[in-house]
């Protein structure tokens, strides 16, 4: 671990959190007055096999 990374400062700084996924954890941060952003994360839609094969051939 390098001495210059963000981990070293984390416990001495005000928390600023990006929450990706379950919003229950975002709500808990807000309840505690922690600065937070919530990302309503979704996976990229899955392509059907046929489209995937066509793209494979094109790329």
């Amino acid at each position: 671990m390098t001495d210059s990374g963000s981990a070293r400062k984390l416990l001495d700084s005000e928390l600023k959190v990006i929450n990706l996924g379950l919003d229950i954890f975002y709500n808990a941060l807000v309840e505690q007055n922690v600065k937070a952003m919530h990302v309503n994360w979704k996976p990229a839609p899955k392509l059907d096999k046929e489209t995937e094969d066509i793209l494979d051939k094109m790329l």
């Binding site: 001495d3 070293r8 928390l15 990006i18 379950l22 808990a28 941060l29 807000v30 990302v39 979704k42």
Partner: protein, 547 residues
């Protein structure tokens, strides 16, 4: 379950909502009509399909769904209610997820979040495990520390993520890290605990919650509690982040004493930790390796080793001073002379065939701690678990107990595509009824974890099932002893004393620590014929000097 009920399945192809959104939708649909007996709107993961089949849905209908599909599963008394439920499910699924009100702090992609919060210093990830690598590597590039709650992350991905993060000076907590405390603020599943001189490094999420909440009961606060995930102290990861966290707390001026809570690390990682603590560190340490050696002290008592969470709390309090130790004894300890008489009525009411303990845990560390204690007290009988350690045997089927069984409902086979059991009580509900119907069962042992992230009323969510189970056993001429432990503080939103009162109201035995709950369960199943003083000397001490 009536033979007249209608079981309906609709499959929505290639449709995604996260498990918590789907849980909320399922709850809403159940409230539409009293004639709707079950509504499970879930991603079609193997776990979820298995659970639907156990709830009575036809395997052939459930089996058609692919993993990227959503299943709308409805059990209702009539077709009209089924139609109503499906229409409501369609409406709720089509509503924009998470966008019920305009909120500038909620966005649809990571890039937007980074634009709005360019100085973010922590990301909390609870996304499907197979997407973690991609997101995590991007965040490491940006220098953003992470707590990864997601399970199902391949260990090769974890090693790649942590190796790169270590090179760049970025902290990675997890995968599988449900709990942390930073500057007194809870991240993920966590409790409203007071702030104080204690720092905790944990490869055991509920272990961190148990130690922090019990210290809170003793008037002792926690400044930082860093959860690194269960894989970190194993050889494959080599304790990369565990060592990093120990060093961060060693150099943190606000932390005076550090607890390290974990299953026993691999020998090489344990050597790394002990070597650092004895040669380079100067603070007081309590090593709580659940199921490892207990009663060790090194460096003139500066480093104490214990083997349960309850002992960790006593040892930390003892390190802090006599007054704190006395408070810990008062708040978290029940002496054997008080425990055994309080259980006598329970074991006297058992029928002759009732011998087994069944534990249904939501907390992984509680499961390990119970395995250590029950595995020792009941060593002469077979004990099974879906997550076995030491002398415990592997359950053939995680969904079916045998003999004495200790089940971790938070293990991956129960959580793929569904919320953790601390949030979603569905699986535990039907397991309570199943265990209680087995005439060999003497004791049902359970944990209830309060705090941020957990179900708004974890006790209330299953109290009717516990009451029904006890009544059902009573009608069959048996007595079902239910032993419970509530992990929480008086400031947790769910209400600590109210939760205990509810459990006591239906005749449960409630104990202040999980370790005591496990001891009590074994003592009841054995009708008090256990070496109680020996058990306490082994698992409920503050550590003894060896140097």
């Amino acid at each position: 379950m009536s033979g007249q009920d209608i079981f309906h399945i609709t499959i929505r192809q290639n449709f995604y909502r996260d498990s918590l959104q789907l849980l909320k939708i399922s709850d809403s649909i159940r409230r539409v009509s009293r004639e709707i007996l079950e509504a499970s709107i879930i991603m079609a993961t193997p776990t979820n399909k298995e659970i639907l089949i156990r709830l009575g849905f036809r395997p052939s209908s459930v089996g058609e769904a692919q993993e990227s599909d959503i299943i709308i599963a409805i059990r209702a008394r009539d077709q009209k209610s089924v139609d109503l439920a499906v229409a409501e499910a369609d409406r709720l699924l089509e509503s924009p997820a998470g966008a019920s009100k305009q909120d500038e702090s909620k966005v649809d992609d990571l890039e937007s979040a980074l634009r709005s919060m360019p100085d973010a210093n922590l990301a909390l990830l609870s996304i499907p495990g197979d997407h973690v690598r991609e997101v995590s590597l991007k965040l490491i590039d940006l220098g953003i520390n992470q707590q990864i709650f997601s399970d199902h992350v391949p260990v090769e991905d974890e090693l790649e993520i942590k190796t790169l993060a270590a090179e760049k000076g970025v902290l990675i907590l997890g995968p599988g890290a449900g709990t942390s405390i930073m500057n007194g603020k809870g991240i993920g599943f966590s409790n409203a605990v007071r702030t104080g001189p204690v720092g905790i490094v944990a490869a055991a999420g509920t272990g961190l919650q148990e130690v922090a909440t019990l210290l809170d009961h003793c008037g002792i606060g926690v400044k930082h509690g860093l959860g690194v995930g269960g894989n970190d102290p194993k050889d494959k990861i080599g304790g990369i982040m565990m060592m990093q966290c120990i060093k961060m707390l060693e150099s943190n001026p606000d932390v005076g004493i550090i607890g390290i809570v974990s299953k026993p690390p691999s020998p090489s990682v344990q050597e790394k930790i002990v070597s650092y603590l004895t040669r380079s560190a100067g603070k007081k340490y309590v090593l709580a390796f659940i199921g490892g050696a207990g009663g060790d002290q090194k460096n003139g008592g500066r480093i104490v080793q214990v083997n349960t969470l309850a002992s960790a709390v006593l040892a930390i309090a003892k390190q802090l001073g006599r007054r704190q130790f006395e408070m810990a004894i008062a708040a978290t300890y029940v002496p054997p002379k008080d425990l055994m008489p309080s259980l006598e009525d329970e074991w006297r009411r058992l029928g002759p065939g009732q011998k087994r303990v069944r534990a249904l845990y939501t907390g992984g560390t509680f499961t390990y701690e119970a395995e250590v204690i029950l595995g020792s007290i009941l060593a002469d009988e077979p004990i099974y678990s879906n997550s076995p350690i030491l002398n415990i045997k592997q359950l053939d089927d995680s969904f079916k107990s045998q003999d004495t069984s200790i089940v971790d409902l938070g293990e991956e086979e129960f959580t793929e595509g569904r919320p953790h059991p601390m949030i979603d009580p569905t699986v535990r509900k039907f397991r309570i009824a199943e265990e209680a119907s087995d005439p060999s069962v003497a004791v049902l042992l359970m944990d209830f974890v309060l705090g941020y992230g957990s179900h708004p009323d974890p006790v209330g969510a299953v109290i009717n099932e516990i009451d029904d189970a006890k009544r059902m056993a009573g009608k069959a001429g048996r007595h079902l002893c239910v032993v419970a432990h509530v992990c929480g503080t008086s400031d947790d939103l769910q209400g600590y004393s109210q939760s205990i009162d509810k459990l006591k109201g239906v005749g449960c035995v409630v104990l202040p620590t999980n370790a005591l709950a496990a001891v009590a369960s074994a003592a009841v199943a054995r009708r008090g014929k256990v070496d109680i003083d020996g058990i306490y000397a082994q698992y409920l001490t503050a550590g003894e000097a060896i140097e």
